[in-house]
């Protein structure tokens, strides 16, 4: 199984631990990643609000390169994935628009490749059975709230690979790793990522609601599949606790970090130290790491 790999800006900057563990997990499961040469920003999260054509052209340039490679694209970041899927969806039956986009990017975009999120590839294409077979250190006793955010499974017409209101892919992966999952209400709510700098008041409210729901459901930690979500839920937890005068102390993992851990990788190589809420204490207490 080989994919054109689109890391996006986050995985090369704020979310290097996501990138490293993505590569680890894919190597373990035999998913070959060929990075798209000379890739560019997907345009999230501002392009689609300012210039519609540009918001299609940016991902289209990356998709056109993947077409030359003859490979479907995998994007670990939910925002990148969503922009690519949106571009494919909008240009699918619209030859005129596809032509326009091709003119903007100065290369022919035909719409022949698919874009998938990393979660979809691992949960649907590889599947929990294969994952379970690779587990060396089951995550026994760890209770996680699987958080998808707003971009991974919505809108259903564009994504469509899991239930838009109550997705289960990540739960199945976590169960395969030996972890426990909670049934909770806010798994597809928005964390406010695009406003994380400009409107911290809104971000605090949205993030608070999510953390609160995860805590109420009895989760020890949140597991996510998006660098934006992770940055917000983890990085803004302090702000939330201060604003709402409460304590959560909920570590926020990338699902690939937990997969790597269960696959027996050394914990110190998984980037836990980069998190604002250090998860190592929790992992020690559960005797997982």
């Amino acid at each position: 199984m080989k994919y054109a790999y689109y890391p996006g800006c986050s995985l090369h900057s704020t979310a290097t631990e996501y990138e490293e563990t993505t590569r680890t997990v894919c190597a373990t499961l035999g998913v070959e990643l060929a990075e798209i040469p000379d890739w560019n920003c997907c345009g999230a999260t501002s392009a689609h609000a300012t210039n519609h054509l540009l918001s299609l052209a940016l991902p289209a340039r990356d998709l056109a390169k993947a077409e030359q490679m003859g490979l479907d694209v995998v994007a670990p970041c939910a925002a990148c994935y969503n922009r690519m899927a949106q571009t494919i969806h909008e240009t699918k039956d619209n030859e005129v628009l596809r032509h326009k986009v091709s003119q903007v990017i100065g290369a022919e975009y035909q719409g022949t490749v698919k874009a998938k999120s990393l979660l979809e590839v691992l949960a649907a294409d590889i599947g929990p059975k294969v994952v379970e077979a690779k587990v060396q250190k089951p995550l026994k006793g760890l209770k996680v709230a699987a958080y998808y955010g707003c971009l991974l499974v919505r809108p259903p017409a564009v994504t469509g690979w899991d239930d838009a209101e109550n997705p289960q892919s990540m739960e199945r992966l976590m169960t395969a790793l030996g972890a426990e999952t909670v049934d909770w209400s806010h798994k597809t709510e928005c964390c406010g990522a695009s406003l994380t700098i400009s409107r911290t008041d809104i971000v605090a409210k949205l993030t608070h609601d999510i953390l609160d729901a995860a805590k109420a459901a009895g989760a020890d930690a949140i597991v996510c599949a998006c660098p934006m979500c992770q940055a917000n839920l983890d990085g803004r937890q302090g702000l939330v606790e201060k604003t709402y005068k409460t304590q959560y102390h909920l570590p926020v993992f990338y699902f690939t970090q937990l997969m790597s851990l269960a696959f027996g990788k050394e914990p110190y190589k998984l980037g836990f130290a980069r998190h604002s809420i250090d998860p190592r204490e929790l992992l020690h207490s559960k005797e997982i790491a």
């Binding site: 239930d163 838009a164 209101e165 109550n166 209400s185 806010h186 709510e189 729901a213 109420a216």
Partner: protein
Amino acid sequence: MRRVGVFVCWCGSNIAGMVDIEQVKAAAAKMPNVVYVEDNKYTCSEPGQAAIQKAIKEQNLDRVVVAACSPRMHENTFRRTVSGAGLNAYLLEIANIREHCSWVHPDKAAGTKKAVDLVRRAVYKVAKNVPLQRASIDVTKKALVIGGGIAGIQAALDIADAGQPVVIVEKTPSIGGHMAQLDKTFPTLDCSACILTPKMVDAAQNQNITLMTWSEVEKVEGYIGNFTVTIRKKARHIDTTKCTGCGICWSKCPAKLPSEFDLGLGQRKAIYVPFPQAIPNKPVIDEKNCIYFKTGKCKACQIFCPAGAIAFDQKDELIEEKFGAIIVATGYEQWDPSPYGEYGYGRYKDVITGLEFERLVNASGPTEGKIKRPSDGKIPKDVVIIQCVGSRDEAKGIPYCSKTCCMYSAKHAILLDEKIHAHPYVFYMDVRTPGKGYEEFYKRATEEHHATYIRGRVSKVYQKGDKLVCLGEDTLLGKKVAVEADMVILASAMVHQPAASKLAQTLGISYDQNHFYTEAHAKLRPVETNTAGIFLAGACQGPKDIPETVAQASAAASKAIGLLSKAKLETEPLVAQVNEGICSGCLWCKPICPYKAIDGKVIKERIAGGKTIERTVASVNASLCQGCGACTVACRTGAMNVLGFTNEHILAEVDALCL
């Protein structure tokens, strides 16, 4: 040589204002076979018609052309006129010089030229007309009503009152339909059962009504006045002549199952009557779930039945019966709102549908009328009602308004306050209350019962502790709102019965994209179908509330009574006809006929040398044929023709118009 009379109508100034009548008359006078031309201010008026009759007699006319309005308007009028003067009604043609000419062409010269052409078309065509006779067919004096809900019951009662026998076929074990599941009815808050059960009893006791419950229509053949219907009487496994409905059997039956009538909120047994007031009050055995049928052991019902009425070996019966008219009253189904993942129906127990709430609030329901929420039996304090669940949402495939939900939601709001002093919050898109006393009823909900109406959609329902949080938007305030509710009621849409399209195909009637049956005309023929002799009543034609359903049922009944009261039916003679002499017997016409009106028949023929041979030719059943003419084009030898629209007619018309 024919003797054609042409009558040009002014239609006041409608035609005369835009067409030069004198020029048309002068041109018509020169057309072949035309011996007489006359103009009238209003040909359809009494003097106008009298003038035609006078001319027929005085001028000895044998064909008539009326140049006036559309034949769809007055063809029948003028047919009566000519036959009143002793001429065959089919020796008439109309030239449509109003709708197709004077009303659409502002240029008088060009309009006049076209009018002349249109008159010439009619003159050429009428020359080919031959006298045609209407045939008459017998009418079976019995009506079939499919569906035993309020629509079917009302229609059957009306037909029976008019003295005609009627059979109700109902697929479930009892008549009553959805109305039997409802608690109160808007806008009067009458108890649904109190007004329905007397009608059910009337239907059961009426000498003219035969109830066939636990039965389904399997096959329909024939045509208006003469339908032959095969009805499958499903095995009840009860000898209904012995059963007294005492109820011992179902009290002893050990197999417990979710009750369909209570929408799974309550239980029934494997031998059951769906609800206490069921008619007939005789149980059925659910073969799939009966322990005896599954394992060969048990027979508890048989052991305890004091009447010896249990009949395990009963089989389905096929009954063939003849009917003159059919009324389709198969009703609706409540839409399953699971596709709205954000509302959590099926995920959260306390998110229920409107119909489920009807069962919760009903005294004979699973909670004996106490409004308890399904999850923990707690009496809810705050209840959110979400309207338009499914309705008016093209993304969910239901573009239409279900018409009843605004009103039943207002009713639910009132009942919640009245019975348990719960606070209702109603999320709505629009509140639609067009009906007598409906707006007042809605006002009552908001003013007397303090229901909070919030204009906006709910985006998400989620569980928080033992509350259901409903996130939504108040679009009038432009604010997000979150209501913490104890129970959520989804005003789910009314959709077609799952087997609606199958029944339509069995009956040969049409249905729309939403699988509701199509009426013959949206405004002027609302209870008839395009298949003569089949009528529609109730929600099978589109969402309807009870008053509307009853009105439509009575309307359908009156149509059926009108049909059954006739001794004979006249049939249109404009049907297909075979020229056996040139028919090759290929029967390509047979599969193309939508009415199965064509079949092969063997004829004997003497050929040269005095020998007699047998050969197959096509044969048309004139009672079944509707005269569409599809067969004529399929006919390779040109043996098939449609009377009134023969090949010769149409070719003559082409010639006339191209001159």
